[in-house]
Symmetry: C5
Subunit: 364 residues, 5 copies
């Protein structure tokens, strides 16, 4: 997400490693993370709910058991670097190799793809790193099939916990609904987190606003520029997601239950609102930058004006005292009794006259 050159280099290096390989080839990451890949399964209907962690060896048995039952099965995979696991899930659930490749390539643009018997949705889970004031992104892939939802996250995290709670404690209608409602609920909680990120960003923006008005140094300018960059990056994550949800609403696919559609529209409205706030914050930050530059300019002008006025007043006076510092033999004024005070008075009058002229023109 963070909008930095180094980040693009990583994505591009990842891409380069695949040149010449046949499409659909899965490559483990160069530096796989330390955490092991975990698979968490929840299976439920209105009456029952079963929940368990499953190991790589059991997957085939367990999936085959749950696949054909009328319950909703949610398989949540955390970590993408276990290629074998991903391939096995793909085979068991008939997922196209290109989809599997997209799942493991962590720089996908949010998109919706219709597979033979499933829908594939990629989006980004965002978090705000308060220390560096950056928005961090994690790719989340969601596959909605007949009676099951399969999710992939890059790193362990608790983003889906509220949905798990609602499932376990039967809050709301979620246990009565089908898999498309579960998919909706999971995507909705991701979109809801965008509001949390925006709240952190607007908090940081308020802090910068205060700083701009107090002391406008280059640090503040860099802060403003950095935050605007983060918002641009965030926009990149949200704009395509809007199209994904617009497409989801239009889609004539039996996997999406008619009862789920109003909820998809609701999430669509939330995304539109996120985009509006992102745009508004960008405009506000642009406005702050203008204020900063105007302050800077104003201060510079103030300084210049003082020099200008001091210079304009004293340069002629210095010339006058220079005249009476000349060593000519015949300078009658030098010998007058009141020459000195007369010159001093002359200069005072001159200085006051100039001050008056400046004031009349509104320069001071």
């Amino acid at each position: 997400m963070t909008h930095r050159i180094s980040r693009f280099r990583e994505i591009l290096a990842q891409r380069r490693r695949k040149i010449g390989l046949p499409p659909g080839t899965l490559l483990p990451p160069e530096r796989p993370p330390a955490e092991p890949v975990t698979v968490h399964l929840i299976d439920y209907d209105a009456e029952h709910l079963k929940e368990r962690e499953i190991a790589l060896e059991e997957i085939e048995t367990i999936l085959n058991y749950y696949k054909d039952r009328p319950t909703v099965t949610w398989i949540d995979v955390t970590g993408l670097h276990d290629i074998r696991l991903t391939e096995q899930l793909g085979k068991l659930l008939s997922i196209h190799p290109l989809t599997l490749e997209d799942i493991t390539s962590t720089s996908q643009r949010p998109k919706l793809e219709e597979g033979d018997a499933y829908l594939y949705i990629v989006c980004h889970m965002l978090t705000f790193d308060k220390r560096n004031c950056t928005v961090e992104a994690e790719q989340v892939s969601l596959i909605l099939g007949q009676g099951f939802v399969l999710t992939f996250q890059e790193r362990p995290g608790d983003v889906f916990d509220p949905v798990r709670e609602r499932l376990r404690q039967q809050i709301g209608r979620i246990r009565q609904r089908d898999a498309s409602y579960l998919a909706y609920a999971l995507l909705d909680v991701i979109v809801d987190h965008y509001f949390v990120v925006l709240e952190a960003i607007s908090e940081r923006a308020e802090q910068l606003e205060a700083e701009v008005l107090e002391q406008a140094d280059q640090q503040v300018q860099h802060g403003l520029a950095a935050l605007r960059r983060e918002l641009i990056g965030m926009r990149r994550a949200v704009w395509p997601l809007r199209e994904v949800f617009a497409e989801l609403q239009r889609l004539e696919n039996p996997l999406i239950a008619p009862e789920t559609r109003p909820f998809l529209r609701d999430t669509y409205d939330h995304i539109v609102q996120v985009i509006e706030i992102v745009e508004s914050l960008r405009e506000l930050l642009a406005g702050l930058t203008d204020v900063y530059l105007s302050q800077l300019n104003h201060r510079m002008n103030e300084i210049m004006k003082v020099l200008t006025l001091v210079g304009t007043i004293f340069i002629p006076l210095t010339f006058i005292v220079g005249i009476y510092g000349m060593n000519f033999d015949y300078m009658p004024e030098l010998h007058w009794r009141y020459g000195y005070p007369a010159v001093m008075l002359l200069m005072l009058v001159l200085a006051l006259g100039m001050l008056y002229a400046f004031r009349r023109r509104g320069w001071i």
Copy 2:
């Protein structure tokens, strides 16, 4: 409406409180306003009109009585923080829980939604706060059903009074028409208030215009920037409303009587005019900012030019008087009878020559 960072933080905090809750959950505001929620009912046809305040307990009885009669029933709710009331109205009039949630979330974008047997319209009532020169917004929700109109306002106010008067006093055709005409009349009076806000804004703009031409200080610049921000905020309220009315005209919904359509088109034209004036005012304010900056720049240049010219004339002269202030033993000029006046004359000629050269180049 007001386009400030702190406002976004409020909206975002409100959103954050809902994360993880099932969709359609109604939450009372964190700080509910002091005023109680009131429900005002008007029921009319061409011959009769009945009007009364109703209490929470009576609602069910009264609504059931009026619902199925051929008259038009208008229920106007002021205040959104009585969750029970909203839920009961929703149940009695078969309104979808997501619509109810939208009604109570006071940061909706203007939109139109078709429910099963009703149309749901959100828009913003705007007022101009003359003290702070800000545009304040209040969310107004309108539900048009078969034979009834249900409106929700955030705060007590008299925006709908002209419509009530027309109903009571049988002014115009309103009493002969159906519920869609009432909905039109209510929306139209909201749009008409946009013109009032624009009038206040253009008054403030004229005042700033005068200030720019008189004395251009930073205060004026901030005023211009603030007013432009308000206009941007106002645009955000009006643009989507234009789409709402465009959609209303296209809609093939039996709830909208054919006789109402020309009036919807009329209001659409008004909205387009509001947008045009908003854009024109923004351009004019941008032009004023340019004038301000040009004034500022021009004044700075004038100041710099004076220093430059004073400096350019006196620096060489000061050098000359410096020469004759040197203490060399052998400086014949110092002993000449007319050395002093000669040098003075030389300097005068030099100064006049420079002034002439500057004038010829058009510098003074």
Copy 3:
């Protein structure tokens, strides 16, 4: 038309007076103009032409006489402030109250509306006020019905005179054609006047161009900005008119004779050309503003450069003469026979050396 804040305030005040009134209410203007409202009627076919002024009382009789004859009847109303007259015409020719309201509200955007048995077109007649260099607009409404054309102008003027002449003197095909051709001819003559306005604007632009190159002062800058504002205002009148004519061509309405269509396309082409010239002139004026600013900047830089060079040369020299103006007892140079000329020579060499260095760097 003129794009000024005060103009918007007028429009908005006019709008405010209507709040709460039922739609279709006609209000007389606050300050009705002194001229009386006149109604001019021309009735013609290929052989005959009758022409007369009609008074308010006769209207009903006369209209009923001409309405059902196969001739073309053109009723030209000058002045909008006689509400009774407008209402009576509306009743006699079955015009919708909202259309009548639009006719009397003098700040309509150009538009086309299809009534039950007529077409309603609003557009702006433009004139260039050479004294203030502003574009003045007058709203012209045109109603095309079966066998008649009804036009409304705000103020008396001779814009339609060429058409009247063609009718009277049988120039061209106009007397052989139907009412839609008359409507075309009237609109075409309005569009032709746009070219006259543009000619005046481009004359003014040429004059400003000459001034920019001669002496670039703030006056010229304001003139450029004002002319650009007028062009923006003009664009606002012409752009929607383009859509009106595009719609007219597409319209499947029996009121428009097939023979008239090529002529509508011709006028459409003219409007497109007007828009192109408006845009070109705006670009040219923007270019002139750039030239102006570049001139200004260049002149400022020239001035600064001279100070810089004068300062840079004389400040060190003044330091040197300052040294020999010190009063130390033991300064051997002061007592040298050729100390004075030596120092003078030294300073000359220094000054020439600096001049040479500046020249080599291309600074002078």
Copy 4:
């Protein structure tokens, strides 16, 4: 073409002369050119080709002879000021009066019109005037009818010569093809000339590029601005032509032979390429202007920096020597044996110290 205010005034004056005249009136130009109007006819099929100049009197006889033969007839008219000739051709070939008016109005936008039995295409032939560095435009009208092509040029020129040569010498397929192929060939050669104009423009741009890097004076800036204006003017000629060709490809008109369509697409591709190069050159010129301004700014900064540093070093030193130029009776330093060298040393140390400080901060 040339994008100058004076040119618009001409077009507008031409337009003004027509106000009030019936549509389709042909007016001779105010200052008709000296050259007579010539009509050149080529009639050919795969076996035969006849070529002759025809006089006004013969036109009727000759056209009637060739019109109904199965050969292709190309009538090329050079000069638009012989109104009688144009009208006679119009009558003989059944061309609509509005089309004839467009042919003689030399400021048409490129466009395509379908007549009853012909297609009418307007476009611009461009040439680059190397002396003034301007793009000159000439309006070319082309009418494609059943078995004939009629072309109108403003001034004599050799733009169509290559096509004539191909006809005479049977180069390529042109003699085997129908009239639509001839029309294509004529339009194609006009578009090909755009590349010649672009080559001249890019040559001029390269020359300006060299000048920018060598010596950046205002002359170069004006040259850049002028060339950009010409490119904008050229874009105005080419953009609408692109639409003309897009429409030509879509057109379901029997006048266009199916075999001609791929060639029209080829010309369309050329036009797109012309547009791309125009846009690229505009961007490059904008880039050069930025480089110019950056150079200018950089040089100004260099100059300012030198003054700043010279001033900052010498102003304090001059103060010091001023101190010892004071005439107080009791200034012990003045009487010290080594006062003078001590002060000189002090000042040297001060100056070096300041130079060192400046260098450390990277200022010199």
Copy 5:
């Protein structure tokens, strides 16, 4: 690709040479490259693969042999300057003369054309020249026919090697698939190379980023401008390619096997990603330019501020010492015992006072 004026002149000169020639004429380049044109053939199905270089004379025999076999035949031509060879291939494979002309004109915009029995695709192979930091482009033409793929490259290179390897070593599915899959694989490897170019560009961008923060001189600014130009050039190559792939997906052409479509979509996604990265890098470089300019400005301001302060402090002091350097006979202060130290003290107080005032205003 490289976005330089001289490059456009070449393209335009090439175009000029064709004026007046019939369409479809092939011209050899003015300066044909030294390398001979080579033709490389690979013919394969799931079981067999044959590979050979073929000479001009054998082409007819060999092509006729392979053309009608059910295998996939890939003919790869390197070098475009052998007109005879291109024409013979065109005749043997029934390619339209205009397509052949496009193949040999090396400045085509990426495009897709449907021929009678083939698809013609032009795109650009890009490489990054690390020495000059420029993106070099080579036109690649690809013709997909029934059972064969024909490719044309300008210069020898190894871009297609990975595909050849996959064919030879049966990696992935390529040997089981038809010609459209081969075409996909070839286009995909070209698009993959865009990522390599972007990686090199982002490496260069990181280097410039470091330089901007360290020492911001004009060299860096030129580097930034040049890199942005290259990105603009690159965008020109990629944007139309996106449309090509969008069209390829929509195309109802039997030449494209249904199994190939998901892969085309995959490449389309890659192109979209390339565009996004190009845009992001452009924004980042624009941001860097802003940082550079802000640094420059900041440094300039710092310098000016120092002069201003030094000047403002010392100019009044110099005036004071000038006063006591005057030679009036009657200046009592000069004879005071403590006149000198008193003046020195006065000046010290004055200087400290000014410093204090400056500090309080935050100027130092």
